[in-house]
Symmetry: C2
Subunit: 245 residues, 2 copies
DNA sequence: TGTACATCAGTGAACGCGCGTTCACTGATGTAC
DNA sequence: TGTACATCAGTGAACGCGCGTTCACTGATGTAC
């Protein structure tokens, strides 16, 4: 406990500080736009700098390297989908579980359609040589846990899954116990779920992202064209499968 | 009908022809290796040429541009997974549907683990500015149709899905009719499936690729580590869900 | 079977380009006394 | 309130690099007669 602890004065912001966060945000905004235009691997510090109106070396005052800029965008993207999903969840009646399921899943799809390259950034091929740092873990988990909370509300009502779950291998039980233990208290309800329910939830999350990626990446060309109808239909099926009424 | 039709002599191969297909294959092999090392966006004609031992401009005798080389790799990759899936399907007893399901799905996963960058090439973020040409459609469809054939065998036995399917929107029915009509005769069995079964099949395919991508792209870090056990468990659940016994 | 011509694989130099990152610098803003 | 010093944003030049593609060329292979 040294003096540093007392030294935080989080409010008093100098002009320099304000300018700094403003420029930081502008860089990220421009970078996001360029990402949307050309994809992650085409993101270049130089062209971002050009568009922001500064010399390329100046960007290094804000981000130590291109990868750090990418990381910031990834973290932002996770927060963005997470926020969208939570807002959608809160916008419908808490006890209408089917409505919550449909609201959350379709909000995630909407976000992805609106920001395809940000979706690709977090759910597509990882950028070669890039390793996601720890900061990305917490925000990455918002959407799946939001889905699990809905399942938890269903479980709390005593609803059962529609088919008898097969016995779960011990190895998986162990992992799931660890997973539960690692959850922050804000996700308490989700951590009360049975192993089978958690596995079903992860699967549903995988389906959600899989469907969106298929749509965005063009794997449904010549298969399904009315994506909206298809998506909603399948999500209702999954909801039935999950026992959400 | 002009003379050109008579002029095919598919067997008589000159030394030049043989050399040509050999060099073409060598270029693709090297490109595939570089893909595996650095990812699709890092694939460079020049470095491929360097490794093959020719000057960069010489590659243009074989592929008119970098994109065409990429297309060739994509087509190859689709054929590769397709072949693996079909071989796995044939390797087990045709009437053991659960075994076929598990064999096909786990062979697809194995292939992806063995060739992660080829998986990324076809199922990851599309290469920016790159548009898949028609040649990629047929091979792309082998894996999902192999899965549907298993469902078809199950349906032929009179097995029903485990939950009553909800009514299918007309828009989807129309699309599915078109899909069925577009299938080549070699997939005849699959085209006899009911709408609900086809939708379930597409969903299962989405789940399969989604799970593999999640594993490969690292979205299960800190969630599930024993991927093999997890995968098999979930695939068995899905098989149950699909009514495969 | 031999010759004349056409085809084609591969060369090497060049084009114009953009990239990430480093560095010594200037000048404005902030801080301690 | 005023001064002296420290911090920091932004500049501009430079480094070394690799890229895709074009072009005129050489020399070997294939084809027609």
């Amino acid at each position: 406990m040294d003096q540093v602890m007392h030294d935080q004065r989080p409010k008093l912001r100098t002009a320099r500080d304000r300018a700094r966060t403003e420029v930081t945000n502008e860089i990220k905004t421009v970078a996001r736009r360029q990402l949307a235009a050309a994809g992650a691997s085409a993101l270049s510090l130089r062209s971002v700098a050009r568009e922001v109106g500064m010399v390329s070396s100046a960007v290094y005052r804000y981000f130590p390297s291109r990868d750090d800029l990418l990381t910031a965008l990834i973290v932002d993207a996770y927060h963005a989908v997470g926020a969208v999903a939570q807002a959608a969840d809160r916008a419908v009646a808490a006890d209408d579980l089917l409505a919550r399921w449909l609201a959350v899943t379709s909000s995630v799809r909407r976000w992805a359609l609106d920001s395809p390259h940000e979706h690709g950034l977090i759910f597509g091929t990882p950028v070669p040589g890039y390793l996601a740092p720890v900061d990305t873990i917490d925000p990455a988990v918002i959407v799946p846990l939001t889905l699990l909370q809905i399942l938890a509300a269903s479980a709390a009502r005593g609803a059962a899954v529609s088919w008898a779950p097969r016995p779960i291998p011990t190895a998986l039980e162990v992992e799931l116990a660890g997973l539960r233990a690692g959850l922050s208290p804000s996700w308490a309800e989700a951590s009360m779920l049975s192993d089978a329910a958690i596995l079903q939830g992860i699967m549903a999350w995988t389906q959600l992202i899989g469907m969106i990626s298929f749509e965005l990446f063009g794997h449904l060309h010549n298969v399904i064209e009315d994506h909206e109808t298809y998506f909603t239909h399948q999500m209702r099926n999954i909801a039935t499968d999950l026992g959400l009424s």
